[in-house]
């Protein structure tokens, strides 16, 4: 095992060795490692190439702020690009590859771009690729995209599962470091429902990376003790591996829990769960992120954040170098040096730009106060550093600490703007925080341990007290405050080599100065011009440094320069997690008709109608195309009898003493005096007089009506009627309930339909006298099954609609087929239904398109002038009923070999197809087997006076122009004798 850099101690489990591969090289680590710690333990320093210049890069941090060590994790379809090695939990068999290089990682041919860096600074695209314009999409952009960028997608369907969920709590605590744990203890002990979420797989935050003491024990032991206590509380839910990534309205937070990312295989479980957390109060205990100092060639593998070096040593038992130097402007860097030295790591030097006495003595280390690192050497691995005092030192690892920036991201998600705090040289939460949100610990600028514990404890108690809980009497955990002194020192000037500010986007101090020089001085402009702070790390280690460099360049202070703010997500969330559990078939619910199983057996082709699946046609032997099926269904229905499942039509039961009066308001035509046992066709208008739905309503008893609506408008009609009932006519005793799903309903149509119904219905005279056109009744069928029978027709034939409770629907369709066998009954689908209704001139949604009035469909007589109903007054506006308005007409082609297209414009012969000459349009077309030609319905200006005229149907989209004859819309059986027969 080649763990040459492994030292004693740490939190890894040496009893659980793990094997993994990086760039096909087999390496070893332990349970508890991250990929980054294991790579460092194995001496792997070069782990990737930079975004733009393909510079060699190594691991820079120990957390989600990592800008360099992005890898492609796993392989094949499971491959995920841009995964931070610093947060990827090591598991046995893990495979990772470096990204953004051509050829081996060590010999990236694209590193030639580094030599071209003087020509490709910030904004070079905008200036360089101006001409010719056509080259941008075809040449420039593809070339740039191929040479720059991060990881690659597998281009295969993601085989992983994802899920979503909903959680609720009194107090959400984001971050399980010292302040978060102290807060959870306080709130949990008081009985509040607490969710404690942390992006790490271990609770403790920085306590795992330090050697602090709390309450007389090591910080790590205190974390263990606290975890045990919290786990014993039913009211506390601990969510490790969970990133709270967004703060939304009304105390709702988005969180991503990585359920199985740490396992070799997810099994059949979701890889990640996207939680929506409903909170009454929320505490942000997100800690702080260390930042770098800009100096020449500060991006070499081996140059890391000093606090991360401390974390790798304390938590993962990894020495990040054999000769470690520290460059720090604050006391935290000294703490790193001291702890590493105590662990036996060779500290070669501590360089501190502050002109103060050295804060401590580190055995064996040379100390350079008032001095900075001004350059480094070592292309793929740091070898040497040069100081501003001219001294050069050998070092294979340089820890840099430019101070700590509070993690204020979640405080900004509702436009809160952080404010500058000179004492800590960082931005702290400011402005209006999201409702119910408080901040504690280092996130709030409480940078030392005792302060963090106290603020967590105090803030939690305040939060739960505001919810009515009584805080426990327990005091905040006791600890000492470590030294935290800092000098604002941002970058080392006086050297020509590039000094990196944003490692992920290859943004240097020179780029920022160029941005300033070219007028992009506002922080938002700076960000967009240079790409500072973009991409997966969202500038966690670079934003403040960039602002500081800009402030220096403009001669302003940092508060005067301002800051960008943050939006969700805090760290990257896979698109798959946002998509959730369902792709494909279950992406939306599917509604099935009661005869679906039977229709499937009958070879039905289904079509989606909203969420419904309806039989479109039924294929039979000999049918060469769908047209053959549809023609056959129409012909056989018109000749004998057909059956169609019409259960999808909206059905609403209307009951109450005022039901008739209510319907009289809803429909434009009269309903108050519809006799019991009769059905009436009705027209519904919007308030503005536009017709929006039609259908039949049957009076089953004095106080009971059954309404049918179009399938598409079932919900709209119900909603509008419920509004009318509750808001317009609250004094009426009327009640609505949807019965769409309650009843299986079948249209039985054709000359032989009466014979079929007679066989099915118990004890009812279905003769024309006994049950005439537009009759209805509660009946029983098949020996006692309750049913509803309606004598209504959409096809124009003598027809019935028979409804039974849906649980009998499958049985009924089989009985209908059996009863109609002697007449060779045919099932027909919505295509045949559509053909027959066009032949008959019945309107549907194709005609009632939101612009059409009763006048337009020749039903102006149905707008009753003697009563008040919704929309009736506005439907009578002068221009809406003018003679030259369009009218519904039937359309037949003159040459039967031509076809019609819906959407074609109607224009007069010998006129140009222009807007001025547009006379109307075709709304529905079909091939009519009855007329043996294409026919259609459409709207034509003053169409009622033009029956018999020959005009043109011009379709500029499809390039057709055919002569058509205008007819009555009632092309089939215009007198209606068949349906009444």
């Amino acid at each position: 095992m080649s763990n040459d850099f492994r030292i004693d101690g740490g939190m890894v489990d040496r009893n659980q060795p793990l094997t993994f591969k990086f760039n096909n090289k087999t390496l070893h680590g332990f349970h508890g490692d991250t990929l980054a710690s294991a790579l460092l333990a194995n001496g792997e320093r070069l782990v990737g190439r930079s975004f733009k210049y393909h510079r060699p890069r190594g691991i820079f941090s120990a957390g989600s702020e990592e800008p360099n060590a992005l890898v492609q994790l796993r392989s094949g379809a499971y491959q995920e690009p841009n995964t931070r090695a610093t947060t990827a939990e090591l598991f046995d068999g893990l495979t990772a590859t470096s990204q953004n290089h051509r050829g081996p990682l060590g010999f990236d041919v694209m590193s030639v771009t580094d030599l071209l860096s003087p020509f490709i600074g910030a904004g070079f695209y905008y200036k360089t690729f101006m001409w010719p314009a056509a080259f941008w999409e075809k040449i420039y952009e593809p070339v740039i995209r191929a040479s720059a960028g991060l990881g690659a997608l597998s281009m295969q369907e993601d085989p992983d599962k994802y899920d979503k969920g909903f959680l609720h709590c009194d107090l959400l605590i984001t971050g399980a470091g010292p302040s978060g744990l102290a807060a959870a203890l306080a709130a949990g002990r008081a009985g509040a429902r607490v969710i404690l979420a942390d992006e790490d797989f271990e609770l403790g935050g920085r306590l795992n990376a330090e050697s602090h003491e709390i309450a007389g024990m090591s910080g790590r032991d205190w974390v263990t003790q606290t975890r045990i206590e919290l786990s014993s509380m039913d009211n506390v839910r601990i969510l490790p591996r969970t990133t709270v990534w967004g703060a939304f309205d009304h105390g709702i937070y988005g969180a991503l829990e990585r359920k199985t990312d740490h396992l070799p295989h997810a099994g059949d479980k979701p890889r990640q769960v996207l939680w929506r957390i409903y909170t009454k109060r929320a505490m942000i205990c997100g800690g702080a992120t260390e930042r770098s100092i800009a100096f020449a060639n500060n991006d070499r593998p081996g140059i890391m954040l000093a606090g991360s070096i401390r974390a790798y040593a304390n938590r993962w038992a990894v020495a990040t170098g054999k000769q470690v130097a520290i460059f720090t402007n604050n006391d935290s860097g000294w703490q790193t040096a001291a702890e590493l030295a105590a662990l036996g790591v060779n500290i070669t030097a501590i360089i501190d730009p502050r002109d103060i006495p050295a804060p401590m003595h580190i055995s064996g280390a040379s100390i350079a106060m008032g001095t900075s690192v001004c350059n480094t050497a070592g292309r793929k691995q740091l070898h040497r550093i040069t100081l501003t005092n001219g001294q050069t030192l050998n070092a294979d690892c340089l820890g840099v600490s430019g101070g700590w920036s509070p993690n204020v991201h979640l405080t900004c998600h509702q436009r809160g703007r952080p404010v500058w705090n000179d004492n800590i040289a960082g931005f702290v939460p400011g402005g209006d925080l999201p409702v119910g949100q408080t901040i504690a610990g280092a996130s709030n600028g409480d940078m030392t341990l005792s302060a963090a514990l106290k603020s967590g404890h105090k803030s939690a108690n305040a939060a739960i007290k505001s919810l009515g809980f009584t805080p426990s009497r327990a005091q905040a955990p006791r600890a000492a405050d470590e030294p935290f002194a800092i000098k604002q020192f941002w970058h080392v000037t006086g050297h020509k080599a590039r000094a990196w500010v944003d490692l992920q986007n290859d943004v240097t101090t020179k780029d920022i100065k160029q941005s300033q020089a070219e007028g992009f001085r506002a922080v938002e402009h700076l960000k967009r011009y240079t790409t500072l702070g973009m991409a997966t790390d969202q500038g966690k280690t670079s934003n403040i440094l960039g602002l500081a460099v800009m402030a220096e360049a403009t001669g302003k202070t940092i508060p005067e320069t301002g800051t960008t703010i943050f939006r969700p997500p805090y760290s990257p969330v896979a698109i798959g997690a946002f998509g959730g559990r369902e792709r494909g078939q279950h992406f939306h619910p599917t509604r099935l008709t009661p005869s679906h199983k039977w229709a499937t057996e009958q070879g039905a082709e289904f079509v989606e109608v909203g969420n419904w699946l309806r039989a479109q046609w039924f294929h039979r032997a000999g049918d060469k195309s769908w047209r053959d099926s549809v023609d056959r269904e129409v012909i056989k229905t018109r000749k004998s009898v057909g059956v169609c499942d019409v259960s999808t039509l909206g059905k609403i039961d209307i009951k109450g003493a005022d039901a008739a009066a209510f319907l009289n308001k809803i429909y434009s035509n009269p309903f108050a005096k519809v006799p019991v046992g009769r059905v009436r066709y009705g027209l519904m208008l919007r308030e503005d007089g536009i017709c929006y739905d039609d259908g039949t309503t049957a009076r089953m008893s004095e106080n009971h009506f059954v309404m049918t609506t179009t399938t598409a408008n079932a919900v709209l009609v119900y909603r509008n009627m419920e509004f009318a009932r509750q808001c317009l006519f609250p004094d009426m005793d009327v009640h609505l309930i949807s019965t769409t799903d309650q009843w299986a309903q079948f249209a039985v149509a054709g000359p032989k339909s009466r014979d079929v119904i007679a066989k099915l219905a118990d004890d009812i005279d279905v003769s024309n006298d006994g049950f005439p056109f537009m009759a209805c009744a509660d009946v029983t069928v098949c020996g006692g099954t309750p049913a509803r029978l309606f004598r209504i027709s959409f096809s124009g034939e003598i027809a019935y609609e028979l409804a039974v409770p849906a649980r009998f629907g499958d049985a009924l369709i089989r009985e209908i087929m059996a009863a109609g066998a002697e007449h060779d009954i045919t099932p027909y689908g919505v295509e045949a239904l559509n053909v027959m209704r066009i032949e008959k001139g019945h309107v549907t949604g194709a005609e009632l398109d939101g612009r059409i009035t009763a006048f337009n469909i020749n039903m102006d007589g149905m707008v009753n002038k003697k009563k008040d109903s919704i929309g009736s007054t506005l439907s009578q506006r002068e221009l809406m009923i003018a003679d030259d308005q369009v009218r519904l007409v039937g359309i037949k082609i003159v040459d039967k070999s031509d076809t019609l297209t819906a959407g074609a414009h109607l224009i007069a012969p010998d006129t140009a197809p222009t807007t001025q000459n547009d006379l109307g349009w075709i709304s529905s077309v079909c091939y009519s087997p009855h007329f043996d030609q294409h026919i259609g319905l459409g709207f034509l200006k003053a169409g009622n006076a033009k029956h018999g005229d020959i005009i043109r149907a011009w379709d500029g989209v499809r390039g057709t122009d055919v002569d058509v004859e205008i007819t009555s819309p009632h092309m089939y059986d215009p007198e209606g004798g068949l349906q009444r027969g």
Partner: protein
């Protein structure tokens, strides 16, 4: 003519999954009882006399071993009573004409999810807070699950009734089943 055979939306689905059981309930009549204007008192008395139950209040249900009443909206109660041949007639025998009665038996698919992990499973699909201190036994709510309108009733500590439209029963079952599988 043969009598018609009944089929349920999910063919009587009944599966143990992990420490839970998910099943379709098919032995209930569901009826909507719309309260006539100014008729609440009469209905309350009729319910007491005819069903031996008290009138539910909003978001609550009242129940005995056989029947359950839910208040689904201000002037509407849902009755869940033992399956009979004709739901409307059966309930009318109990409460007379004190409400406008509409059969809803076939409009809904009724699932029962029970077992120690049932609340954990429902976290994946139900946006309501089902903590027993918040959503107590016999409490009910109308909500949506995976874009489907639904009702949820807590009938015991770890037992929930879930209802949704019968036409999308298969989609609803799939949604609940996946939730259960993901946590079991």
């Amino acid at each position: 003519m043969a009598n018609l055979t009944q089929t349920s939306s999910l063919n009587g689905y009944d599966q143990p999954i992990g420490d839970m059981r998910l099943r379709e309930i098919t032995d209930l009549d569901l009826t909507s009882l719309a309260i006539p204007h100014k008729g609440a008192t009469k209905l309350k008395t009729a319910i007491k006399n005819g069903l031996s139950l008290s009138m539910p209040t909003p978001m609550k249900s009242t129940a005995d071993a056989k029947s359950r009443l839910l208040m689904t909206q201000p002037d509407q109660i849902f009755a869940m009573t033992p399956r009979s041949k004709h739901a409307e007639s059966t309930i009318r025998k109990a409460i007379g004409d004190t409400a406008y009665i509409t059969d809803q038996t076939d409009a809904w698919v009724v699932l029962e999810l029970s077992g120690p992990s049932s609340r954990t499973a429902l976290e994946r699909i139900c946006q309501l807070d089902l903590h027993p201190d918040v959503f107590k036994k016999n409490q009910m709510a109308r909500t949506t699950m995976e874009h489907m309108g639904s009702m949820i009733i807590r009938t015991d500590n770890d037992t929930f009734i879930l209802m949704s439209a019968s036409s999308s029963a298969a989609s609803f079952l799939h949604a609940v089943e996946i939730s259960v599988q993901h946590v079991s």
